[in-house]
């Protein structure tokens, strides 16, 4: 399951370094959306990775932000941790972290904001086919979000890609349950 250096790319190395910091602080996370599909070979570009983490207190966030800075990441919205926490995270907006002196890729970090995000974290999983040692939200979750909430051409194509890859392994009832939750909490 470990990565071979020859098989990694910029997004993967960036994610591995970022997640190492999150793991060190025992923060629960799940990678969601575009990177999940790209990690399954989908042929499309992306410049960011979406990451949901469990809700943190201000003090826990300060610790995380400082640890990220120590590991050569910087937040594009500034380094005033009080503002970052109050103006962004608590407002359910994402913080965008990049490697110092680089612009891309970006890690879009969000706190879990409702029962649906809590469920994403609870059911997070490692996906063997990706050959990556990260926690992702489930395939069913990603399909449901893309088909029921996001719905752009790119998202529907992402969902189709996952449906074909996992054709006989999908829990279709779970997809429908998640779609119901999306309607309850997000629409």
């Amino acid at each position: 399951m470990d990565l071979l250096v020859s098989d990694t790319n910029i997004l993967t190395k960036f994610t591995a370094d970022f997640v190492k910091v999150i793991d060190k602080l025992n923060i629960k996370y799940a990678i969601v959306s575009g990177f999940v599909v790209i990690a399954h070979g989908r042929s499309r570009g992306t410049e960011d990775i979406d990451l949901i983490i469990e809700r943190l207190s201000k003090e826990q966030f300060y610790k995380l932000h400082n640890e990220l800075e120590k590991n050569e990441f910087e937040c594009l919205q500034g380094n005033n941790v009080e503002n970052l926490y109050v103006d962004y995270l608590i407002d359910n907006l994402s913080l965008r972290y990049v490697r110092k002196n680089e612009f891309l890729p970006e890690m879009e970090l969000k706190l879990s904001k409702d029962k649906l995000d809590e469920y994403q974290l609870k059911t997070r999983t490692k996906l063997k086919l990706t050959n990556l040692n990260f926690y992702f939200s489930t395939i069913e979750m990603n399909i449901a979000f893309k088909e029921e909430l996001l719905k752009s051409g790119k998202d529907l194509a992402d969902a189709k890609h996952l449906r074909i890859i996992y054709e006989n392994k999908l829990n279709k009832k779970e997809i429908e349950n998640i779609k119901k939750m999306i309607n309850e909490y997000r629409l």
């Binding site: 098989d7 990694t8 790319n9 910029i10 997004l11 993967t12 790209i38 990690a39 399954h40 070979g41 989908r42 042929s43 499309r44 570009g45 992306t46 410049e47 594009l76 965008r96 680089e102 612009f103 891309l104 890729p105 970006e106 086919l129 990706t130 050959n131 051409g153 194509a157 189709k160 890609h161 074909i164 890859i165 054709e167």
Partner: protein, 64 residues
């Protein structure tokens, strides 16, 4: 890749997904190359125009 006729986007998504299902690692290598090239080109561009302008563009892209 020449497959003998022109596909629309939807056909390509299905074609590529089936190819991935059959040989995931080969598809991952191909898509990694695509993503890396895109990021390297974008980073070179943003470095050339300078941090201030780059951040303005990236912030606007993010808003949209």
């Amino acid at each position: 890749m020449n497959i003998g006729y022109s596909m629309d986007e939807n056909e390509f998504v299905v074609f590529w997904a089936k190819k991935c299902r059959d040989n995931m690692q080969s598809c991952q290598r191909e898509s990694n190359k695509l993503v890396d090239s895109q990021i390297e080109l974008a980073n070179a561009f943003y470095k050339r125009i300078g941090r201030k302008k780059a951040l303005r563009i990236l912030n606007n892209l993010h808003k949209n």
